[in-house]
Structure formats: structure tokens, C-alpha cells
Subunit: 458 residues, 2 copies
């Protein structure tokens, strides 16, 4: 029998995260203070983040030690297995070798705990009592709830109302881990109240929920805010995934020609691909593909510009690919990919042609998910299916070209708490969404007057 | 850092299943034909099972080779990790070492695919086109759906109606893997029709669903029936779990004083404990505990007698602990443990005092599940929480006694598709069920007139 799963021994768990800021050809633009438009310093961020995370946010050190207490908690599910997808390869009759990294083995079922553990830990040692956050599809909220329970921290989650209603299991998971979860917009914050005053039936959005969580965090010195994606320190923590992958592929005696991941805020994608981007900077020939939904085409259609991370403009301005902070994407089932912006690190790497973005419609992604489930067994999260679909496309391209390419797919999580999406697909209730050009243009108009806009030239 | 997860390399995956029939101090009583009351031979079973499984059902060989094609599919999730529950130990402040075997890493989320893969394979090579089965909580149906998809077999699942309504995600999983799932009682079989004629609002039961699946199987020569528990060949396939555990504990340098698993039909429990029962037969001092719900106390309150496996009396009569084939337990959330009978192998081992049965109320099990989730991270299936609760009791007993006991718990599956149960518990909507003695007595009366009744003397 051929080896199916490449396991790393626990002793090989990476001891450091990789900080790509040390290697980026174009340095990151600084975040700007939302009031003054001037570069925001550590002091500006101190009300919402603990200092160790702020230091990581701006660090230029290439390698950052992972504290022993975090390593110990990582062992609950890490190192995660790297799979060879023999059954899928056979089904596609492709000469490509397909590997997938299974991040679905964490208790929360996705990659999100990689940073949630770290954030909970640094908050704990900094004296935080309660962490406030938002969640879209619920992956992040449940991951943070899980990790706060391990460190004995309170956790408050503002969950986008439409997901709160559609995905009760995610809320129940958070409650099982001891967190408090409310639908956003809520009546608990001024941000929520102002949205509800205008539209009592607002389905909510990630931008609104961020506003609420930030407001709740600054309300008390014992509270802090936590973000599950976008920021540099989040990308940093996620690199434990790609670093493991590199060791595992070395064990298998392979190196990827293509690296594929889905990208919403960018952390899942970054976590797997950044160590390979480093290799690419140093001359390796790799096609690194970030997959986004056609209904929220941040990287492929949004300009690179300064924009707010949230709807009511409370966060610092970030230099990133964005569709405008008021853009509300169609309610596709891959809720974790419905964000108007993209991580500054990923955005800059797209600008520098180190990452190739691709947008895809949801019907193809679900069809790919069905194929994957019936060959490799695992049911993917709808977000993950974006990576699965492009993996299948690349494997079929390799077949056309007759090339034995090595494809690495980042399988970010399972879909067992998202079965309603499969139900809708299997019963003909899903469709692709034609993007309304008008809606994008309208949202983009809000970006133009901002400081330092820069058009996409990639 | 201490090792948290003991992995077996794939090359160490057991190549044979262990058949305890070769070592049992008291041989099994033969199954009886439901019409004649005479011992049922292979020919009697041929209409519903393929011959290789019938041969395994009656085999006295100690070791049975696992075919290469099954081993290859096992690698999708096996060997499964054996965990050391350091966080739970610390929380309980116990000197006990707690190990748990994580069977939740399979695509279906439980131990069930261990036998589903084998049954799908043997049906495939025997020419079966469609497998019919029943499912209670949905674990078995989804496992068989998954495994049929890997071998290109059709799969038809009769799902107990109350679960069909309460656990739509399980049905959606089956459909994602390509199976057809209907609520039982259905109008598709005579058995279902007769139940519906008496009670159109019948919530269904495992016994009724078995009747439907057997009827559908015998309707065509191309169809076969499949059972996810109770029978000898199912116990056999599950032993891959316990055999792995023995190798993993040897790596850890430990041997269990206590082995704990939850028992519904008995296959999950058997899979983990039978290799240890063998050691006990050969003189090892181990406390092997089968945990059942107080609302369906088959082993602790049911006599050892011949009884039908299903409600409408179509299956062979099995010598087992039973509450009577018409017993309908309270609708507790651990649906997989709501079965009136217990596997003949487990029943006989209880009679021979090799296994110690314990019954427990559901409130304690959910409290244990919360404790486990907040220490070890993973959210257990409600069935699994029965094992978690007794593990906690045993660890606290070890603390009282000041003994460094080694406890092995079989963590049979995750609860991510059962979150409604946690919701009910956390929001005060669950209660313990006082068993109505009358209901048991009434059900037991049906057993008495059967051939060869034998009272429990253990």
C-alpha cells in the first residue's frame, strides 16, 4: 500500500512562525488612523489589542518563536495530516499528484484555531478578561470560543444575523465552549443600534459585526478585540500550516508546482502559501493561486487602495484590495469568503505578481465538493470547495498537457456544520450570481476620496 | 513537551481483525430461524447478506485477514490517533492517566465506517448492486452512504422518523455521498405501511426501520441488507480499533487498568474492548466497562434470552440481553444507544463477568461532555458522552483511592451534527428520565414464550 497520509511527529511541530514581512519585495504600507489619516502607531492600536500582538503586527523579524504554552495547545490537533488524494487522482485520470492539507481535524473543524490559540494566549498574559469578536459563517467565532475556554477567558461573539439564523449549530458550538454569542446588528452597541434604526430587518454583515465587536472591546479596559483574519499577526500565526506542509512534502520527496487555497480575509490562504511565497521570492517556479468567489471578487476586481476594515469606519485604514467598505456581497453559502477587503499582505503579494487570484462561481465549487466527498470521503466547507474546484481544474489541465504536476491544496475545513448548503445544491436551489457592476462601482466610489489610493496594475 | 497524540504509522495498521469467538469461555448460542425456531444456517441468511459476511458471522478462526482493498480505504482516516487527556487530568486533579482513542476523525465522524467499508467491499465483490439499511441517529446511515460511494454501490437508508426530522444534517450527509434516505416508517414497504395504518404519526424506531430495510433487501436478488451493529461480523470489523490501541499503548509504555466505551448495539464498545477482553481471559486484571443509558438499560436490566432484532419479527432470533423487541425507549438525545437488544457477543461476555455494564442518566453525560469540550477541546457525540462521564467518575475514584490508574476511553465520535442536544442541555430543556417499570415488564412479557429463554445470573 502506498502512503496516504503524511504525518509529522509532534516533535517536528514548527517552533517558530514565519513572518513574510522580512522578505517582501515591496514593504507593506502602514495602517492609517481613521480620524487623522496619519500612520497609526502601536499606541493607536493599544485600546483594542494586547501589546504582544501589536508588536507582531509590525515586526520585521523573519522568525518569531512560538511560546511553549501555545505549542502545548497546538498539540490538541497539530501537526495536521497531509493527504495524497489518490482516489481523486484516479477519478480524474490525471497524471498530477494531488496533496491536500487537512486543517479540518481541529476541534472547531477548520484552520481558525491556529491564530485563535495564539490570540487567546497573548491576551491572557496581558491581563485581558474578555475578548470580543465578530464572526461571519461562524468558523472564527467557534474557534475563538474553543481557545478562550482553554485559557479561561470570557468570549463575546457578534455573529452576522443571517448566519446566526441559518447556522444555529455554530452558535451552539460557541455556547458549548462557554462563549456568549448574539446576532449582529444587536441592540447591545451604538453601532448596532444605528444600523437597526435605519433597517430593523438588516441581515447584518461582517463589517457591521466588526464595528460592534470593536465598540464592545473599547468599552472596558479589561476587554480586548480580536480579528480572525486580515491583519499581519493573524497571517503570521497561520504559517504553522505551510511550515508543516514543507516538512511533510520533503518526507514525501515532492515539491509543489501549484499551491491552491481559498481566500476570504486571506488568513487561511496565507497560512498555507506564505512559506512557499518565500521560496518563490528566492527563485522557485510555483503558481500560487488564491481563490475567491465571483460574487465577492476582492482581488480580481477591487482596486488596491486604503479602506476601512469595517462598515461604520471605526478601524484603521488598511492598504489592500477592496470592493469598498459598504459593499455587501450576495448571500452565497461560503459565508467566510464574503468580505469586502483582503489582507494587506496578500494584497501586496498580488500586486507584486507573487500570487495569482482567481474568481469562481459557486455552482462549480459545490459540484467539486460532491466529487471530493465521493472520492476522498471528506465533506468540505463551502469555502474550502473553492480550493477544491480550482484543484480539479488544475489537475485536468495537467492531464491535457500531459504533465505530472504536483498540486498542493489547502483543505481548510470540513462542512459538517454547513450541510444546508449541500442540501440547497443537491435539490437545485442554488444558482450562480451575476455580479451587479453598479453595486461594485457604487461601493468603490467611497474609496476614491481616501488617502493614497493606488490602482491595480498587476 | 510531553507527547499528546500517539500516532501509529500507516505501515502498522492491523492486517487482520480479531475474532473473539475463538477465545470465548462460553460459546455463542446459535441464531434461530424466526419461523421454525430452529438454528439458522448460512442458507437462511443468504437472502439478506453476501456469503463472505455470513462466513465471518460464524467463523471460529481467531484472526481474519483484512483484504488489501479495505486496508487501502481504511487509510482515509486510519490508524486513528490515541490521545493522552492531560488537560482533563489536570482539571480533575487526578493521578489517573486518561487516554482516549479518537474515532471521530473519519469522514462520517464516528467509528461506524470501520465495518461499513468492509460490508460495502464484500457486497461489491459478491455482486450486490444496492445495500439497504436502517439508521437511528444517522451515524450508521451516513457511514454506509460514505462507504458505498467509495465502492460505487447504491445505498438506501430508512431513517427513524424522529431523527429524520431532528437531524436533517445527517440526511444531507447521506445525500452528499449519493445515498437515498427516507423517513421510517415509510410507505415504501409493507412493514412501514402496517405501522402507519395503526399510527400515522409514529415517530418510528430502530426496530421498525430494520424491518423496512430487510423487506426492501429481500425484494430483489440484486439487493442486500446491512446492519451497523449487533452481529458478530460487525464486532469483528470494529476490532481494528482495539488492535491499534494495543500497539499505541505499547508505544506509550502503558497498559489499561480500566477500558470504557458506550454501548448501544455494542459494536463501538466491542471494537475497542474485545482485544482487551482476550487479555482478560488470559489473566490480565482489567475492568472493562460498557456504558448504557438508564433509559434503555439493556445489559443492566434486560434478561439474557432469545429475541428478535426488529419490531415486526422478521430477523433471526438472537441470544442476547434484551428489553423485548417492542420496547420503545424514551427519546433521549443519544439516539445511537436506543436499541432494545445488545450484541450476542457482548451479552455473553457480560454473562461471563468479563464485561461490567453500567447505566447512567443523560444529564450527567452532557455535563461530562461540556467538561471534556472545555478541557480537551473536542465536542463529543451524545452517545460518546456516556463513556466520557464514566471516565470522569473513574478518574475521580482513582483520585480518592490515590491510585495512578491507566484509563482507556473509546471516544467514538464527535457531536458536531448533534449540537441541538447540547443546546437543549445548556438551555435547561433536558432532564433525566425515570424508567417506567411497567413499560419494561410489558415488553419483557413478549420474550418469555420464546424458545430457550435464559435468565441473567451475572
Amino acid at each position: 500500500m502506498e502512503v496516504k497520509k503524511i504525518f509529522l511527529p509532534e516533535s517536528e511541530l514548527p517552533r517558530q512562525w514565519y513572518n513574510i514581512q522580512a522578505d517582501m519585495p515591496t514593504p507593506l504600507e502602514p495602517p492609517l488612523h481613521p480620524g487623522t489619516g496619519q500612520p497609526a502607531g502601536p499606541d493607536d492600536l493599544a485600546p483594542i489589542f494586547p501589546m504582544p500582538l501589536i508588536e507582531q503586527e509590525v515586526s520585521q523579524e523573519r522568525w518569531i518563536d512560538i511560546p511553549e504554552e501555545i505549542l502545548e495547545k497546538y498539540l490538541i490537533w497539530r501537526p495536521t495530516p497531509l493527504y495524497r488524494a489518490y482516489n481523486l487522482e484516479k477519478y480524474l485520470d490525471t497524471p498530477a499528484k494531488i496533496y491536500f492539507k487537512n486543517e479540518g481535524v481541529s476541534p472547531a473543524g477548520s484552520h481558525k484555531p491556529n491564530t485563535a490559540i495564539a490570540q487567546a494566549y497573548y491576551n491572557k498574559i496581558s491581563g485581558t478578561k474578555k475578548i470580543c469578536t465578530e464572526t461571519g459563517a461562524g468558523q472564527w467565532g467557534s474557534a475563538l470560543a474553543f481557545c478562550c475556554s482553554l485559557f479561561g477567558l470570557e468570549c463575546k461573539v457578534y455573529m452576522v444575523k443571517i448566519s446566526f439564523q441559518q447556522k444555529p449549530y455554530r452558535r451552539m458550538m460557541m455556547e458549548t465552549w462557554g462563549a456568549n454569542c448574539v446576532a449582529s446588528p444587536s441592540n447591545e452597541t451604538k453601532a448596532g443600534q444605528s444600523i437597526l434604526a435605519k433597517n430593523p430587518d438588516s441581515p447584518g454583515s461582517l463589517g457591521i459585526a466588526i464595528s460592534e465587536a470593536v465598540e464592545a472591546a473599547v468599552a472596558s479596559e479589561e476587554n480586548k478585540y480580536s480579528l480572525g483574519s486580515v491583519l499581519n499577526h493573524v497571517m503570521l500565526h497561520q504559517t504553522v500550516n505551510g511550515l508543516e506542509c514543507q516538512k511533510q512534502l520533503a518526507i514525501a520527496g515532492d515539491y509543489p508546482d501549484v499551491v491552491i487555497g481559498c481566500a476570504g480575509g486571506g488568513s487561511n490562504f496565507a497560512g498555507n502559501c506564505l512559506p512557499f511565497v518565500r521560496d518563490k521570492i528566492h527563485g522557485k517556479d510555483i503558481d500560487i493561486i488564491g481563490v475567491e468567489p465571483a460574487s465577492c471578487p476582492t482581488m480580481t476586481r477591487g482596486p488596491f487602495a486604503y479602506d476601512f476594515g469595517d462598515t461604520v469606519q471605526m478601524t484603521p485604514l488598511l492598504a489592500m484590495h477592496t470592493l469598498g467598505h459598504s459593499f455587501v456581497p450576495e448571500p452565497i453559502h461560503a459565508g467566510g469568503l464574503r468580505y469586502h477587503g483582503m489582507a494587506p499582505i496578500i494584497s501586496q503579494l498580488v500586486m507584486d505578481n507573487l500570487i495569482r487570484p482567481v474568481a469562481i462561481q459557486q455552482m462549480e465549487t459545490f459540484q467539486a465538493g460532491i466529487t471530493f466527498a465521493r472520492t476522498e470521503g471528506f465533506i468540505s466547507a463551502p469555502e474550502t470547495n473553492h480550493a477544491v474546484a480550482i484543484t480539479i481544474r488544475e489537475a485536468l489541465k495537467a492531464k491535457e498537457e500531459g504533465k505530472e504536476k504536483v498540486i498542493l491544496m489547502n483543505w481548510s475545513g470540513h462542512g459538517l456544520v454547513d450541510m444546508a448548503a449541500y442540501e440547497a445544491f443537491l435539490h437545485g436551489k442554488l444558482a450562480d450570481h451575476e455580479l451587479e457592476e453598479e453595486a461594485i462601482q457604487q461601493a468603490l466610489e467611497e474609496i476614491a476620496p481616501l488617502p493614497k489610493p493606488r490602482q491595480y496594475t498587476g
